[in-house]
């Protein structure tokens, strides 16, 4: 396709190797441009956008009770059957989950549970580091879900981070006010 447009009379450019020089100019431009790599996990970490569908979390109300009413709609709509809910009646007479397990290894993070939830309880949050050495730890329980980080407030940025040496598999962001507004996308060099 590229050949058809080239005229034979363009020989001056070919003799002076114009296209090779254009290529060299381009790579030289890239050579002096900023790098776009994330220094993950022990130096920088990507904070995802608010709409990111990561590790689930369950919202609580003002009294610290979970919003979930154990209607099991999430477990029914789940396309990969990874949510287990067992309801019970607490001392106030409310229907609450006794067991709320999510198998993260089976979950495909589609977000249907979030859509189906009538009580604004289960959500998909910003956490995306779920790697582990044991499959058993991939089944998370109610207390893990309550503690899990929520949606990213102002996501889509790179934050300074350190590797969590105790957990080993997680990168923890450090908050430094001056890095808050770092626009990572502005680093990408694009040809006009």
């Amino acid at each position: 396709m590229a050949r058809t447009g080239v005229k034979r009379s363009n020989w001056i450019g070919r003799v002076l190797l114009v296209d090779l020089l254009a290529g060299l100019r381009l790579t030289l431009g890239y050579m002096v441009s900023k790098t776009v790599t994330h220094h993950y996990p022990d130096y920088e970490k990507w904070v995802p956008y608010q709409r990111h569908r990561g590790h689930h979390f369950i919202k609580t109300n003002e009294e610290g009770e979970v919003n979930c009413v154990a209607c099991e709609l999430c477990s029914k709509i789940c396309p990969c059957d990874c949510i287990t809910v067992i309801p019970f009646e607490n001392e106030k007479g409310d229907r609450r989950p006794k067991v709320f397990d999510i198998n993260l290894a089976r979950c495909l993070y589609c977000g249907l549970c979030e859509d189906a939830c009538p009580a604004d309880a289960i959500k998909l949050g910003q956490e995306y580091e779920v790697a582990t050495h044991h499959r058993g730890t991939l089944v998370v329980h109610l207390e893990d879900l309550v503690k899990a980080p929520g949606k990213a407030g102002n996501g889509g940025v790179v934050r300074p981070a350190t590797l969590d040496r105790n957990g080993g598999l997680r990168s923890v962001t450090r908050t430094r006010p001056k890095d808050a507004g770092l626009d990572w996308w502005s680093r990408i060099r694009r040809e006009r």
């Binding site: 290529g23 790579t27 890239y30 050579m31 441009s33 900023k34 790098t35 790599t37 220094h39 990408i188």
Partner: protein, 328 residues
């Protein structure tokens, strides 16, 4: 006694040259990886040492501790001497390369080269031609189809490009009236040869790239179609000898480009020692070679041959003709 004493500076110079050349590939691999990375908008090695400066050292330790494997069907003797054969010529070439005018030290005059041969250029071209034997032997001894194909290509490439390379320096030799490298440099006192001999420089540069088997002419080790070409079967320390040779050939080429066409150590600013100025130029050329490597794709085999025989050879002959006429 007098003779023995006169040997001392030569031995010291040899020790320095060998030491520097053995260590030089370490920073060069780092540089090459950095340039590759930055062209692709990534930072390259960052973790070992400041900006990954110690990464080549870590790689060297890894290479030296790896299993030194010889394939069962290989010719064991040739297989083991091939890397050495590839490595020796780049070292030998540095015998004839001067890095500055003679200096005064300890009351005697010390030449800044091991031996400034009066046929230095011829010696360099001849010795660097031997380097291809390493490639040929490696390919043949490996008894592997990829390695043989790689060395076949390299033979054809070497034959095709030695000729224009030799012809392209004839113009320089005609201008200087000598094949001694220090004379060639001092003949460029007023005007660098690249201004007088642009075609000669172009031909020398391109055929030099092909001689060093670097992209866009790295067909002998085209990783896309030949595995790794002639060193497919090599591992560990033998492989690192090949890499060493490859980087030293690049250094030799950069030196030759500077000495023959860019005035050697001449023409620098007054505050810089001439040798530093020369090394800066050489560094620039090394950088250019690496820049080219990560810009261009590899030429096809027939294109390689066409460039060598149909473009560079006539150009170099024309260059000799024209410079002959002008000199008359």
């Amino acid at each position: 006694m007098e003779n023995v004493l006169s040997l001392v500076p030569v031995l010291i110079k040899m020790a320095i040259v060998v030491g520097v050349l053995l260590l030089l590939p370490l920073p060069l691999t780092w540089l090459e990886r950095k340039i590759a990375a930055h062209i692709q908008q990534r930072p390259g090695p960052m973790r070992v040492g400041w900006h990954g400066l110690l990464q080549p050292l870590a790689d060297a330790i890894k290479l030296l501790t790896k299993e030194d494997h010889i394939p069962a069907e290989a010719d064991r003797m040739l297989f083991s001497i091939a890397p050495v054969v590839a490595l020796v010529p780049p070292f030998l070439v540095f015998v004839a390369i001067p890095i500055g005018d003679p200096i005064q030290m300890f009351g005697t005059e010390i030449a800044l080269s091991i031996s400034d041969l009066n046929v230095g250029l011829l010696f360099i071209l001849a010795v660097s031609g031997i380097g291809v034997f390493g490639t040929i032997l490696a390919g043949w001894a490996s008894n592997s189809k990829y390695a043989v194909l790689g060395s076949l290509r390299s033979i054809a490439q070497m034959i095709s490009y030695e000729i224009p390379m030799g012809f392209s320096v004839i113009g320089v030799v005609m201008l200087a009236g000598s094949m001694q490298l220090s004379q060639i440099v001092s003949s460029q006192q007023g005007l660098w040869n690249v201004v007088v001999q642009p075609i000669g420089f172009f031909v020398f540069f391109v055929s030099g790239l092909a001689e060093a088997q670097r992209i866009p002419f790295d067909l002998p080790e085209a990783e896309g179609d030949l595995g790794a070409g002639y060193h497919t079967e090599y591992s560990g320390i033998r492989f690192s000898l090949f890499m060493l040779a490859e980087y030293l050939v690049v250094v030799v080429l950069a030196f030759l480009n500077v000495l023959l066409f860019f005035g050697g150590w001449l023409g620098g600013p007054a505050f810089l020692p001439a040798t530093i100025w020369l090394l800066l130029k050489v560094g620039f050329f090394i950088w250019v070679f690496m820049w080219l490597r990560f810009t261009f794709p590899r030429y096809r085999y027939d294109q390689l041959m066409a460039i060598g025989w149909k473009l560079l050879l006539p150009l170099s002959l024309l260059n000799i003709l024209v410079s002959g006429f002008v000199m008359l």
